[in-house]
Symmetry: C2
Subunit: 224 residues, 2 copies
Protein backbone atom coordinates (compact mmCIF):
# COMPACT_ATOMS: atom_id res chain seq x y z
CA UNK A 1 0.00 0.00 0.00
CA UNK A 2 2.45 2.63 1.16
CA UNK A 3 5.05 2.96 -1.56
CA UNK A 4 8.66 2.88 -0.46
CA UNK A 5 9.75 5.08 -3.30
CA UNK A 6 7.50 7.57 -4.96
CA UNK A 7 10.07 8.10 -7.66
CA UNK A 8 9.15 5.25 -10.07
CA UNK A 9 5.55 6.36 -10.21
CA UNK A 10 6.55 9.75 -11.51
CA UNK A 11 9.22 8.58 -13.91
CA UNK A 12 6.81 7.52 -16.62
CA UNK A 13 8.71 8.48 -19.76
CA UNK A 14 7.84 11.83 -21.21
CA UNK A 15 6.94 10.16 -24.50
CA UNK A 16 4.28 8.06 -22.84
CA UNK A 17 2.81 11.04 -21.10
CA UNK A 18 2.70 13.08 -24.27
CA UNK A 19 1.22 10.09 -26.07
CA UNK A 20 -1.56 9.63 -23.54
CA UNK A 21 -2.24 13.31 -23.63
CA UNK A 22 -2.43 13.39 -27.41
CA UNK A 23 -4.75 10.41 -27.39
CA UNK A 24 -7.11 12.09 -24.96
CA UNK A 25 -7.02 15.25 -26.99
CA UNK A 26 -7.94 13.28 -30.09
CA UNK A 27 -10.76 11.61 -28.20
CA UNK A 28 -12.13 14.99 -27.15
CA UNK A 29 -11.90 16.23 -30.72
CA UNK A 30 -13.77 13.20 -32.02
CA UNK A 31 -16.46 13.70 -29.41
CA UNK A 32 -16.75 17.34 -30.43
CA UNK A 33 -17.52 16.28 -34.00
CA UNK A 34 -20.11 13.83 -32.73
CA UNK A 35 -21.78 16.58 -30.75
CA UNK A 36 -21.60 18.99 -33.68
CA UNK A 37 -23.42 16.48 -35.88
CA UNK A 38 -26.06 16.07 -33.23
CA UNK A 39 -26.62 19.66 -32.09
CA UNK A 40 -24.96 21.80 -34.70
CA UNK A 41 -21.60 23.51 -34.49
CA UNK A 42 -22.80 26.32 -32.30
CA UNK A 43 -24.70 23.83 -30.17
CA UNK A 44 -21.62 22.19 -28.71
CA UNK A 45 -21.53 22.77 -24.96
CA UNK A 46 -18.47 22.00 -22.90
CA UNK A 47 -20.63 20.22 -20.36
CA UNK A 48 -21.99 17.75 -22.88
CA UNK A 49 -18.55 17.38 -24.38
CA UNK A 50 -17.02 16.55 -21.02
CA UNK A 51 -19.73 13.97 -20.37
CA UNK A 52 -18.93 12.23 -23.64
CA UNK A 53 -15.27 11.79 -22.76
CA UNK A 54 -15.86 11.05 -19.07
CA UNK A 55 -14.34 14.19 -17.71
CA UNK A 56 -15.68 17.09 -15.68
CA UNK A 57 -16.27 20.20 -17.67
CA UNK A 58 -13.38 22.27 -16.25
CA UNK A 59 -10.92 19.48 -17.01
CA UNK A 60 -11.29 20.21 -20.69
CA UNK A 61 -9.24 23.32 -20.10
CA UNK A 62 -6.23 21.09 -19.59
CA UNK A 63 -6.48 20.26 -23.30
CA UNK A 64 -7.90 23.39 -24.88
CA UNK A 65 -7.35 26.94 -23.78
CA UNK A 66 -10.86 27.97 -24.72
CA UNK A 67 -13.83 26.93 -26.76
CA UNK A 68 -12.48 28.89 -29.70
CA UNK A 69 -9.29 26.91 -29.39
CA UNK A 70 -11.38 23.76 -29.75
CA UNK A 71 -13.07 25.13 -32.87
CA UNK A 72 -9.67 26.04 -34.22
CA UNK A 73 -8.45 22.48 -33.77
CA UNK A 74 -11.55 21.21 -35.57
CA UNK A 75 -11.00 23.70 -38.37
CA UNK A 76 -7.40 22.53 -38.78
CA UNK A 77 -8.44 18.88 -38.72
CA UNK A 78 -11.10 19.43 -41.38
CA UNK A 79 -8.62 21.14 -43.64
CA UNK A 80 -6.10 18.34 -43.18
CA UNK A 81 -8.79 15.86 -44.19
CA UNK A 82 -9.51 17.90 -47.30
CA UNK A 83 -5.84 18.05 -48.23
CA UNK A 84 -5.54 14.32 -47.68
CA UNK A 85 -8.59 13.73 -49.86
CA UNK A 86 -7.21 15.60 -52.84
CA UNK A 87 -3.71 14.21 -52.27
CA UNK A 88 -4.92 10.65 -52.78
CA UNK A 89 -6.83 11.51 -55.93
CA UNK A 90 -4.54 10.16 -58.69
CA UNK A 91 -5.50 12.99 -60.99
CA UNK A 92 -5.67 12.52 -64.71
CA UNK A 93 -2.78 13.61 -66.92
CA UNK A 94 -5.11 15.87 -68.83
CA UNK A 95 -5.27 19.10 -66.79
CA UNK A 96 -8.89 19.83 -67.65
CA UNK A 97 -9.96 16.36 -66.65
CA UNK A 98 -7.89 16.70 -63.50
CA UNK A 99 -9.67 19.95 -62.69
CA UNK A 100 -13.06 18.34 -63.04
CA UNK A 101 -11.98 15.44 -60.86
CA UNK A 102 -10.93 17.92 -58.21
CA UNK A 103 -14.26 19.72 -58.42
CA UNK A 104 -16.15 16.52 -57.91
CA UNK A 105 -13.93 15.54 -55.01
CA UNK A 106 -14.54 18.86 -53.29
CA UNK A 107 -18.30 18.77 -53.73
CA UNK A 108 -18.35 15.15 -52.60
CA UNK A 109 -16.21 16.05 -49.60
CA UNK A 110 -18.70 18.78 -48.74
CA UNK A 111 -21.72 16.52 -48.82
CA UNK A 112 -19.88 13.81 -46.90
CA UNK A 113 -19.96 15.93 -43.75
CA UNK A 114 -22.03 19.05 -43.80
CA UNK A 115 -21.01 20.44 -40.42
CA UNK A 116 -17.39 20.08 -41.50
CA UNK A 117 -18.29 21.95 -44.66
CA UNK A 118 -19.94 24.68 -42.63
CA UNK A 119 -16.94 25.07 -40.37
CA UNK A 120 -14.49 25.23 -43.27
CA UNK A 121 -16.40 27.32 -45.77
CA UNK A 122 -19.01 29.30 -43.94
CA UNK A 123 -18.75 31.36 -40.76
CA UNK A 124 -21.27 29.71 -38.47
CA UNK A 125 -19.55 30.60 -35.18
CA UNK A 126 -19.87 34.30 -34.44
CA UNK A 127 -16.54 35.70 -33.41
CA UNK A 128 -14.52 32.68 -34.41
CA UNK A 129 -11.53 33.30 -36.64
CA UNK A 130 -9.04 30.52 -37.33
CA UNK A 131 -5.50 30.97 -36.10
CA UNK A 132 -2.83 31.76 -38.66
CA UNK A 133 -1.49 28.22 -38.44
CA UNK A 134 -4.88 26.71 -39.17
CA UNK A 135 -5.69 29.24 -41.83
CA UNK A 136 -2.47 28.34 -43.60
CA UNK A 137 -3.93 24.89 -44.26
CA UNK A 138 -6.95 26.47 -45.92
CA UNK A 139 -4.68 28.60 -48.06
CA UNK A 140 -2.72 25.51 -49.01
CA UNK A 141 -5.82 23.90 -50.47
CA UNK A 142 -6.80 27.09 -52.23
CA UNK A 143 -3.40 27.26 -53.88
CA UNK A 144 -3.62 23.63 -54.88
CA UNK A 145 -6.82 24.41 -56.70
CA UNK A 146 -5.34 27.42 -58.39
CA UNK A 147 -2.38 25.35 -59.54
CA UNK A 148 -4.72 22.88 -61.22
CA UNK A 149 -6.33 25.70 -63.15
CA UNK A 150 -3.01 27.23 -64.11
CA UNK A 151 -2.00 23.82 -65.43
CA UNK A 152 -5.18 23.89 -67.49
CA UNK A 153 -4.16 27.23 -68.94
CA UNK A 154 -6.45 29.40 -66.82
CA UNK A 155 -4.38 32.18 -65.28
CA UNK A 156 -6.65 35.21 -65.43
CA UNK A 157 -7.85 36.04 -61.87
CA UNK A 158 -11.27 36.94 -63.24
CA UNK A 159 -11.61 33.49 -64.74
CA UNK A 160 -10.55 31.99 -61.45
CA UNK A 161 -13.20 34.01 -59.62
CA UNK A 162 -15.83 32.62 -61.93
CA UNK A 163 -14.50 29.14 -61.33
CA UNK A 164 -14.64 29.44 -57.54
CA UNK A 165 -18.21 30.68 -57.80
CA UNK A 166 -19.22 27.62 -59.81
CA UNK A 167 -17.70 25.21 -57.33
CA UNK A 168 -19.04 27.09 -54.33
CA UNK A 169 -22.50 27.02 -55.87
CA UNK A 170 -22.48 23.27 -56.38
CA UNK A 171 -21.30 22.63 -52.84
CA UNK A 172 -23.65 25.17 -51.36
CA UNK A 173 -26.75 23.81 -53.05
CA UNK A 174 -25.74 20.24 -52.36
CA UNK A 175 -25.28 20.86 -48.66
CA UNK A 176 -28.33 23.09 -48.28
CA UNK A 177 -30.89 21.13 -50.25
CA UNK A 178 -29.72 17.54 -50.48
CA UNK A 179 -27.35 16.91 -47.57
CA UNK A 180 -25.61 13.60 -47.92
CA UNK A 181 -27.03 13.04 -51.39
CA UNK A 182 -25.62 13.64 -54.86
CA UNK A 183 -28.20 15.85 -56.55
CA UNK A 184 -25.56 18.50 -57.32
CA UNK A 185 -22.44 16.36 -57.01
CA UNK A 186 -23.43 14.64 -60.22
CA UNK A 187 -23.30 17.88 -62.15
CA UNK A 188 -19.62 18.43 -61.33
CA UNK A 189 -18.28 17.31 -64.71
CA UNK A 190 -20.98 19.15 -66.58
CA UNK A 191 -20.20 22.40 -64.79
CA UNK A 192 -16.50 21.89 -65.40
CA UNK A 193 -17.14 21.38 -69.11
CA UNK A 194 -19.36 24.44 -69.09
CA UNK A 195 -16.57 26.48 -67.61
CA UNK A 196 -13.89 25.37 -70.05
CA UNK A 197 -16.25 25.77 -72.99
CA UNK A 198 -16.74 29.34 -71.84
CA UNK A 199 -12.99 29.86 -71.62
CA UNK A 200 -12.59 28.60 -75.19
CA UNK A 201 -15.51 30.60 -76.46
CA UNK A 202 -14.10 33.80 -75.00
CA UNK A 203 -10.67 33.09 -76.42
CA UNK A 204 -12.09 32.61 -79.87
CA UNK A 205 -14.02 35.85 -79.49
CA UNK A 206 -10.89 37.68 -78.38
CA UNK A 207 -8.92 36.30 -81.31
CA UNK A 208 -11.66 37.29 -83.72
CA UNK A 209 -11.64 40.82 -82.34
CA UNK A 210 -7.89 41.06 -82.63
CA UNK A 211 -8.07 39.78 -86.19
CA UNK A 212 -10.68 42.30 -87.18
CA UNK A 213 -8.74 45.19 -85.63
CA UNK A 214 -5.57 44.18 -87.41
CA UNK A 215 -7.14 43.84 -90.84
CA UNK A 216 -9.08 47.03 -90.56
CA UNK A 217 -6.50 49.52 -89.24
CA UNK A 218 -3.11 48.26 -90.30
CA UNK A 219 -2.25 45.13 -92.21
CA UNK A 220 0.34 43.87 -89.74
CA UNK A 221 1.11 46.75 -87.36
CA UNK A 222 0.97 46.60 -83.57
CA UNK A 223 -2.34 47.57 -82.03
CA UNK A 224 -2.54 50.93 -80.19
Amino acid sequence: MTPVHTEPVHTEPVDRRAQRRAAKRAQILAAAWTLAHREGLAGISLRDLADLVELRQPSLYAYFESKHDLYDAMFAEGNRQLLARVAELELSQDPRTATKEMVRALVQFSTDDIVRYQLLFQRPIPGFEPSVASYALAVEFFEFGRARLVAAGVTDPEDFDVFTALVAGLADQQVANDPGGDRWVRHSERVGDMFFADIDRRRRAAQRDAQRTTTRSDAKGASA
Copy 2:
Protein backbone atom coordinates in the same frame (compact mmCIF):
# COMPACT_ATOMS: atom_id res chain seq x y z
CA MET B 1 -57.28 67.98 -15.48
CA THR B 2 -59.99 65.69 -14.14
CA PRO B 3 -61.95 64.48 -17.14
CA VAL B 4 -65.72 64.69 -16.88
CA HIS B 5 -66.14 61.76 -19.18
CA THR B 6 -63.61 59.05 -19.53
CA GLU B 7 -65.40 57.85 -22.61
CA PRO B 8 -63.82 60.11 -25.26
CA VAL B 9 -60.33 59.16 -24.18
CA HIS B 10 -61.03 55.52 -24.82
CA THR B 11 -62.97 55.96 -28.00
CA GLU B 12 -59.91 56.50 -30.14
CA PRO B 13 -60.96 54.83 -33.38
CA VAL B 14 -59.84 51.29 -33.80
CA ASP B 15 -58.11 52.28 -37.04
CA ARG B 16 -55.90 54.73 -35.21
CA ARG B 17 -54.99 52.19 -32.59
CA ALA B 18 -54.11 49.61 -35.15
CA GLN B 19 -52.16 52.18 -37.06
CA ARG B 20 -50.09 53.22 -34.05
CA ARG B 21 -49.48 49.63 -33.24
CA ALA B 22 -48.37 48.80 -36.75
CA ALA B 23 -46.03 51.79 -36.74
CA LYS B 24 -44.40 50.67 -33.51
CA ARG B 25 -44.05 47.18 -34.85
CA ALA B 26 -42.34 48.52 -37.93
CA GLN B 27 -40.04 50.60 -35.76
CA ILE B 28 -39.05 47.53 -33.76
CA LEU B 29 -38.43 45.61 -36.95
CA ALA B 30 -36.21 48.36 -38.33
CA ALA B 31 -34.26 48.44 -35.07
CA ALA B 32 -33.83 44.69 -35.26
CA TRP B 33 -32.17 45.04 -38.68
CA THR B 34 -29.91 47.73 -37.32
CA LEU B 35 -28.86 45.47 -34.48
CA ALA B 36 -28.38 42.54 -36.83
CA HIS B 37 -26.02 44.61 -38.96
CA ARG B 38 -24.08 45.60 -35.88
CA GLU B 39 -23.91 42.31 -33.96
CA GLY B 40 -24.93 39.68 -36.43
CA LEU B 41 -28.29 37.98 -36.74
CA ALA B 42 -27.76 35.67 -33.81
CA GLY B 43 -26.37 38.56 -31.79
CA ILE B 44 -29.67 40.36 -31.46
CA SER B 45 -30.70 40.53 -27.82
CA LEU B 46 -34.16 41.60 -26.80
CA ARG B 47 -32.69 43.91 -24.18
CA ASP B 48 -30.64 45.86 -26.70
CA LEU B 49 -33.57 45.86 -29.07
CA ALA B 50 -35.89 47.29 -26.42
CA ASP B 51 -33.34 50.01 -25.65
CA LEU B 52 -33.26 51.06 -29.28
CA VAL B 53 -37.00 51.60 -29.42
CA GLU B 54 -37.33 53.04 -25.92
CA LEU B 55 -39.25 50.20 -24.42
CA ARG B 56 -38.56 47.80 -21.59
CA GLN B 57 -37.56 44.37 -22.73
CA PRO B 58 -40.77 42.58 -21.66
CA SER B 59 -42.87 45.10 -23.58
CA LEU B 60 -41.60 43.65 -26.83
CA TYR B 61 -43.83 40.68 -26.15
CA ALA B 62 -46.82 42.90 -26.86
CA TYR B 63 -45.62 42.98 -30.48
CA PHE B 64 -43.93 39.64 -31.00
CA GLU B 65 -44.82 36.36 -29.38
CA SER B 66 -41.21 35.25 -29.20
CA LYS B 67 -37.80 35.94 -30.61
CA HIS B 68 -38.44 33.41 -33.35
CA ASP B 69 -41.55 35.33 -34.21
CA LEU B 70 -39.37 38.39 -34.67
CA TYR B 71 -37.00 36.49 -36.94
CA ASP B 72 -39.97 35.26 -38.88
CA ALA B 73 -41.18 38.81 -39.45
CA MET B 74 -37.71 39.76 -40.66
CA PHE B 75 -37.64 36.75 -42.96
CA ALA B 76 -40.98 37.74 -44.45
CA GLU B 77 -39.91 41.35 -44.86
CA GLY B 78 -36.70 40.38 -46.63
CA ASN B 79 -38.60 38.19 -49.05
CA ARG B 80 -41.08 40.96 -49.76
CA GLN B 81 -38.19 43.26 -50.56
CA LEU B 82 -36.79 40.68 -52.93
CA LEU B 83 -40.13 40.26 -54.67
CA ALA B 84 -40.46 44.02 -54.96
CA ARG B 85 -36.97 44.26 -56.42
CA VAL B 86 -37.64 41.81 -59.21
CA ALA B 87 -41.13 43.18 -59.78
CA GLU B 88 -39.76 46.63 -60.66
CA LEU B 89 -37.18 45.21 -63.03
CA GLU B 90 -38.68 45.93 -66.48
CA LEU B 91 -37.26 42.74 -67.87
CA SER B 92 -36.19 42.47 -71.46
CA GLN B 93 -38.48 40.89 -74.04
CA ASP B 94 -35.82 38.36 -74.87
CA PRO B 95 -36.25 35.60 -72.27
CA ARG B 96 -32.54 34.81 -72.06
CA THR B 97 -31.65 38.43 -71.53
CA ALA B 98 -34.43 38.66 -68.97
CA THR B 99 -32.98 35.68 -67.14
CA LYS B 100 -29.57 37.27 -66.97
CA GLU B 101 -31.07 40.51 -65.72
CA MET B 102 -32.77 38.57 -62.98
CA VAL B 103 -29.55 36.84 -62.02
CA ARG B 104 -27.73 40.14 -61.71
CA ALA B 105 -30.57 41.60 -59.67
CA LEU B 106 -30.48 38.70 -57.24
CA VAL B 107 -26.73 38.79 -56.78
CA GLN B 108 -26.87 42.56 -56.39
CA PHE B 109 -29.68 42.19 -53.88
CA SER B 110 -27.54 39.75 -51.93
CA THR B 111 -24.53 42.02 -51.70
CA ASP B 112 -26.71 45.02 -50.85
CA ASP B 113 -27.43 43.55 -47.43
CA ILE B 114 -25.50 40.52 -46.35
CA VAL B 115 -27.35 39.80 -43.12
CA ARG B 116 -30.57 39.86 -45.09
CA TYR B 117 -28.98 37.42 -47.52
CA GLN B 118 -27.94 35.19 -44.66
CA LEU B 119 -31.41 35.17 -43.17
CA LEU B 120 -33.09 34.39 -46.48
CA PHE B 121 -30.67 31.89 -47.99
CA GLN B 122 -28.63 30.38 -45.23
CA ARG B 123 -29.70 28.99 -41.88
CA PRO B 124 -27.79 31.10 -39.39
CA ILE B 125 -30.28 30.82 -36.52
CA PRO B 126 -30.25 27.34 -35.02
CA GLY B 127 -33.76 26.09 -34.59
CA PHE B 128 -35.40 28.82 -36.62
CA GLU B 129 -37.78 27.71 -39.32
CA PRO B 130 -39.95 30.23 -41.12
CA SER B 131 -43.70 29.94 -40.72
CA VAL B 132 -45.70 28.60 -43.63
CA ALA B 133 -46.96 32.09 -44.45
CA SER B 134 -43.43 33.52 -44.62
CA TYR B 135 -42.08 30.53 -46.46
CA ALA B 136 -44.76 30.99 -49.08
CA LEU B 137 -43.08 34.28 -50.02
CA ALA B 138 -39.80 32.49 -50.57
CA VAL B 139 -41.54 29.93 -52.73
CA GLU B 140 -43.14 32.73 -54.71
CA PHE B 141 -39.73 34.09 -55.68
CA PHE B 142 -38.44 30.64 -56.49
CA GLU B 143 -41.36 30.08 -58.83
CA PHE B 144 -40.82 33.46 -60.44
CA GLY B 145 -37.28 32.41 -61.26
CA ARG B 146 -38.38 29.10 -62.62
CA ALA B 147 -40.95 30.83 -64.83
CA ARG B 148 -38.20 32.99 -66.36
CA LEU B 149 -36.26 29.87 -67.25
CA VAL B 150 -39.27 28.10 -68.67
CA ALA B 151 -39.85 31.16 -70.83
CA ALA B 152 -36.28 30.76 -72.02
CA GLY B 153 -37.00 27.17 -72.98
CA VAL B 154 -35.34 25.53 -69.98
CA THR B 155 -37.79 23.05 -68.48
CA ASP B 156 -35.61 20.11 -67.47
CA PRO B 157 -35.32 20.03 -63.64
CA GLU B 158 -31.70 18.96 -63.94
CA ASP B 159 -30.93 22.05 -65.96
CA PHE B 160 -32.70 24.15 -63.38
CA ASP B 161 -30.62 22.59 -60.60
CA VAL B 162 -27.49 23.55 -62.46
CA PHE B 163 -28.83 27.05 -62.89
CA THR B 164 -29.62 27.50 -59.19
CA ALA B 165 -26.12 26.33 -58.33
CA LEU B 166 -24.57 28.96 -60.60
CA VAL B 167 -26.60 31.76 -59.09
CA ALA B 168 -26.06 30.54 -55.53
CA GLY B 169 -22.34 30.39 -56.18
CA LEU B 170 -22.14 33.96 -57.41
CA ALA B 171 -24.12 35.25 -54.46
CA ASP B 172 -22.24 33.11 -51.98
CA GLN B 173 -18.79 34.18 -53.10
CA GLN B 174 -19.87 37.79 -53.39
CA VAL B 175 -21.21 37.90 -49.86
CA ALA B 176 -18.40 35.87 -48.33
CA ASN B 177 -15.39 37.47 -49.98
CA ASP B 178 -16.38 40.91 -51.17
CA PRO B 179 -19.38 42.04 -49.10
CA GLY B 180 -20.92 45.18 -50.49
CA GLY B 181 -18.68 45.09 -53.57
CA ASP B 182 -19.23 43.78 -57.10
CA ARG B 183 -16.38 41.34 -57.65
CA TRP B 184 -18.81 38.54 -58.50
CA VAL B 185 -21.86 40.62 -59.38
CA ARG B 186 -20.10 41.72 -62.52
CA HIS B 187 -19.83 38.14 -63.75
CA SER B 188 -23.61 37.67 -63.76
CA GLU B 189 -24.07 38.07 -67.51
CA ARG B 190 -21.06 35.96 -68.26
CA VAL B 191 -22.31 33.11 -66.12
CA GLY B 192 -25.74 33.42 -67.69
CA ASP B 193 -24.22 33.19 -71.16
CA MET B 194 -22.14 30.26 -70.03
CA PHE B 195 -25.27 28.48 -68.88
CA PHE B 196 -27.24 29.03 -72.07
CA ALA B 197 -24.27 28.10 -74.21
CA ASP B 198 -24.15 24.84 -72.31
CA ILE B 199 -27.85 24.28 -72.89
CA ASP B 200 -27.36 24.81 -76.62
CA ARG B 201 -24.27 22.66 -76.74
CA ARG B 202 -26.06 19.77 -75.05
CA ARG B 203 -29.04 20.11 -77.39
CA ARG B 204 -26.82 19.92 -80.42
CA ALA B 205 -25.12 16.87 -78.96
CA ALA B 206 -28.49 15.22 -78.28
CA GLN B 207 -29.67 15.93 -81.81
CA ARG B 208 -26.48 14.54 -83.28
CA ASP B 209 -26.93 11.38 -81.25
CA ALA B 210 -30.53 11.02 -82.34
CA GLN B 211 -29.50 11.55 -85.95
CA ARG B 212 -26.82 8.93 -85.81
CA THR B 213 -29.14 6.38 -84.21
CA THR B 214 -31.83 6.95 -86.81
CA THR B 215 -29.52 6.66 -89.81
CA ARG B 216 -27.79 3.61 -88.51
CA SER B 217 -30.67 1.38 -87.39
CA ASP B 218 -33.70 2.26 -89.46
CA ALA B 219 -34.08 4.97 -92.06
CA LYS B 220 -37.20 6.50 -90.58
CA GLY B 221 -38.56 4.09 -88.00
CA ALA B 222 -39.28 4.87 -84.37
CA SER B 223 -36.42 4.22 -81.98
CA ALA B 224 -36.76 1.26 -79.61
